[in-house]
């Protein structure tokens, strides 16, 4: 059968083609080769320039520490909460809250959080001036602190829901309850039983998402711009500044910086793997000690407190976005707007139909293509689902910083005349959307009990019929979730849309960044909301459709 070869080839071309050519076009300028600027000899000068940039070492350290810190804290929080509340009603409730939060784009969440915690933000307004005596905002450094704490917090607020969703997907397997019972009958507390017996089984499935989070967090631009330090800034936002400097020769240095960014992300991943190794060793020693940790009250209470705190902060931030989108004037210390204005909502919708149209059509197309391609590949290679090369390729766009190869990709599209077309933007989106689709769908697919298929084939059904009548309905929920994740990833793409779209293809995301550069909070809030509208719709459909379709089949409707 030739099919697995074909699907793997299609995926390889879609993923590796753009990345490889993009990288090549970044490596050349990094070593001084960019003929259009009159430099056509190879030199290490871009790297030496980079080393002489003021605060370069501090920028490297910030990218590393905020990225690794945010990843470790998010992971710890997700494990902490899951371990102590797994198989409880509270766990179900939190699940319902966290999944929609995933649809909030990073930038929108960061904007909302800054409205909440700034010295002139909502929290201070609530208690001013009656309790604090402040009739003017205090001059304290909360946002953009030099250590990057606000930025780390913003990243955690967004990464926890993502890792939690991945955890939920991993938990969706049989017999876990039996393991828990076995653990408890051996005298372990609930939390300990989860950590010792279940987590080691789930961890291999969480690993790739964790590394993706780590790569993202060490190279993030938008959250860093909104919440991150600026004296100096982390490396990624500085790369964008250099890439856009009117002094065009700075592009050479920016390309060198992109390579350094790749190395830095690599180093963060290595560090993480090292930590993983140490934890594994420790865990073994802990198991051998035989401690049962029967009382886990403190762990449970604190886990729930942290998780509900996070949900409260994110929900409050979103509500603030809603209020700001209707506020004409809202000055400190007023806790509610002084003047309202609902007119902007209508005019923003009517004036941005083109952007909204592109957002929706690109998002649906990218989500559809990547979901179908993933299904095709899984179906075609079901006998050997783990092709090494492919899992490496899937990993590549997730761990490489976008700026590292987008400029090169743009040159490629320009050279073949596709720059500024919706098709080229769609291809660029697919590079980033496909990995998430594969990530979200592979595990549920491979875990499907193969006996259904065998029984149906034995009864004389064709593979297509088996897929359509048996597998697809059984997998409807993960397929829809994959579609929703893919849609959300596509809508969130800023740099790829901006660079490949060349102003001819604009989405709500690129428009919102341009509009937000003027600092009008009402518009900023409104567009942040528009940005989350489309993904939210996707997640709602993914959550409710299986319930509606399979009302009478409890095991398939997702209710348990």
């Amino acid at each position: 059968m030739k099919l697995p070869g074909v699907s793997a080839a299609v995926l390889t071309v879609l993923l590796a083609g753009p990345v490889a050519t993009g990288l090549a076009a970044t490596v050349l300028p990094a070593f001084g080769y960019l003929p259009v600027l009159g430099s056509s000899s190879f030199t290490a000068a871009p790297f030496t320039d980079l080393l002489q940039e003021p605060g370069f070492a501090a920028s490297l350290f910030l990218s590393f520490s905020t990225g690794l810190g945010a990843t470790l804290v998010s992971l710890a929080l997700v494990i902490w909460f899951t371990a102590s509340w797994y198989r409880t009603r509270t766990f179900q409730r939190v699940t319902r809250f966290l999944s929609p939060i995933l649809s909030v784009p990073h930038a929108a969440a960061a904007i909302g959080i800054s409205f909440l915690i700034a010295p002139s933000g909502f929290l201070v307004r609530l208690v001013s001036p009656w309790a604090t005596g402040w009739d003017r905002p205090p001059d304290v450094l909360i946002l953009n602190d030099p250590m990057g704490l606000a930025m780390t917090g913003g990243l955690i607020a967004k990464e926890v829901p993502f890792l939690f969703l991945m955890m939920l997907a991993a938990l969706n397997r049989p017999y876990l309850g039996d393991y828990m019972k076995a653990g408890e009958s051996l005298g372990y507390g609930k939390t300990a039983a989860f950590l010792h017996l279940i987590l080691p089984q789930l961890y291999p499935l969480l690993r790739l998402p964790i590394l993706a989070v780590l790569a993202y967090a060490t190279s993030v631009v938008d959250v860093a711009l909104l919440l991150g330090p600026t004296t100096p800034a982390p490396l990624a936002p500085r790369l964008v500044v250099w890439m856009n400097d009117p002094d065009l020769t700075k592009r050479l240095m920016a390309s060198a910086g992109a390579l350094v960014q790749i190395a830095l992300t690599g180093l963060a991943i290595l560090t993480y793997l090292l930590i993983e190794l140490v934890v594994r060793k420790r865990h073994k020693a802990f198991l051998e000690s035989g401690r049962r940790n029967r009382s886990d009250r403190f762990v449970r209470v604190s886990g729930l407190t942290l998780m509900s705190g996070l949900i409260t902060v994110t929900t409050a931030s979103l509500l603030l976005l809603v209020i700001w989108s209707m506020a004409k004037s809202w000055w400190f210390p007023a806790a509610l707007p002084q003047r309202w204005d609902l007119g902007l909502i209508g005019s923003a919708l009517s004036m941005n139909q083109a952007a909204l149209g592109y957002t929706i059509s690109l998002g649906l197309a990218a989500a559809f293509i990547s979901t179908v391609l993933t299904l095709w590949h899984l179906e075609a290679s079901s006998r050997d689902p783990k092709t090494r090369l492919l899992s490496f390729l899937v990993f590549l766009p997730l761990v490489l910083p976008q700026i590292g190869f987008l400029f090169g990709l743009k040159m490629l599209f320009l050279a073949i005349g596709w720059d500024g077309t919706a098709f080229a933007v769609l291809l660029a989106h697919l590079v980033f959307v496909l990995p998430y689709a594969i990530l979200a769908l592979t595990d549920p697919y491979t875990r499907l009990d193969p006996r259904y298929e065998k029984a149906a084939i034995a009864l004389g059904k064709s593979r297509l019929s088996v897929f359509l009548n048996i597998k697809a309905p059984l997998l409807l929920k993960p397929i829809l979730t994959t579609f929703a994740v893919a849609l959300a990833v596509s809508v969130g793409q800023y740099l790829p849309t901006l660079m490949i779209g060349a102003g001819r293809v604009v989405t709500i995301t690129t428009e919102s960044v341009a509009l937000a550069s003027g600092g009008n909070r009402q518009i900023t809030a409104l567009f942040a909301l528009l940005q989350l509208l489309v993904p939210l719709a996707g997640f709602l459909v993914a959550m409710t459709l299986p319930r509606l379709l399979f009302r009478k089949r409890i095991a398939m409707s997702g209710a348990r």
């Binding site: 100096p232 341009a514 509009l515």
Partner: protein, 406 residues
Amino acid sequence: MTAMIRKLALGLTGLLALGTGASAQDLSWEDVQAEADGQTVYFHAWGGEPRINAYIQWAAREVERDYGVRVIHVKVEDTATVVSQVLAEKSVGKDSGGAVDLIWINGENFASMKANGLLADEGWAETLPNWQYVDVENKPTVRIDFTVPTDGQESPWGMAKLVFMYDSARIDTPPATLEDLATYAVNNPGRFAYPQPPNFFGTTFLKQVLVSTVTDPSVLSRELDPAVFDETVAPMFAYLDTLQTHLWRQGKAFPKNAAHMRQLLADGELDISFSFNPADASGAIANGELPPSVRTFVLDGGTLGNTHFVAIPYNSSNQAGAKLFADYLLSPMAQSRKQDPEIWGDPTVLNVAALPETEKALFDALDLGPATLTPEELGPVLPEPHPSWVSALEEAWLERYGTGAN
């Protein structure tokens, strides 16, 4: 009714243009008009101000109706990305059909595009029919952009001048000089700030201090000589040093841009903000973004001023349409509308006194708003330094205040 008057005024302008110019040029302008009909112009312009976006949309509607030119405003966050786009196109040899037809530009970005051959041929700007009304005599920056001659490769659109804003409910008398400003900042810690360079407004503040403190101003109008840099900027850094620890957030974080400062002024985090648009405060009051008590001031001895332009990239395939739109933006009708603070408040590049009566009346009827200074009160315009100083200034600033070492 007003639409009819507008149409009439437009017709008049067109007639005037036909009646005054040399015949050869008229022919070529008619050719431009004929060629432009049916073209689509992608106008890449900063999109951060809803009022400006609405104005561009209005102008686009006018030229579509009257000349059949469709203008699409591509809202840009940072003009340098547009320079990048044209550069990328040139580097793969895409010498026609570029994505950009017209750019809102000035200063460093213009100098960079000019030096790298990314702009349409010289001279086109001064062949536009409405060029005749441009105030070449009293506004020299319409032909010299940050000391770089425009050579007709960009067409002036509006004038900018650095002004400061304060809330009169909190300050009785705003500082009148740079020294007063420093004293104010020291006495009111945490209530003054400037945006972080390389933000345009942050760099402008550095340049304002530099121009006001430099011993030999002529150095600044020439290409940067690295040998004299340290000595030239020493007084500027001495001034900034006195501010540093008294700045907002003790100088550990800076506002992102002028719009961010305006927001901070409205919330009472800052006492003073600044803008390049003298009517910004009036417009923001009308818009509900600033309290009605905000007023504008300038410093004795003058503040920096410049002109902003529109330019056509060398590889635009809709150059006729782009020229026609650039010309429309220069028309007395469009320029007077632009100067209305309720609409945008951007000062005109035209010589209003020399306009025909009907056009002059459009400007005379303008109400400049409660917080706008009169042209006399705005004081003298200080010239911008040569663009080559900008990156050196930004670098030196970063080294001193932006590395976390202080």
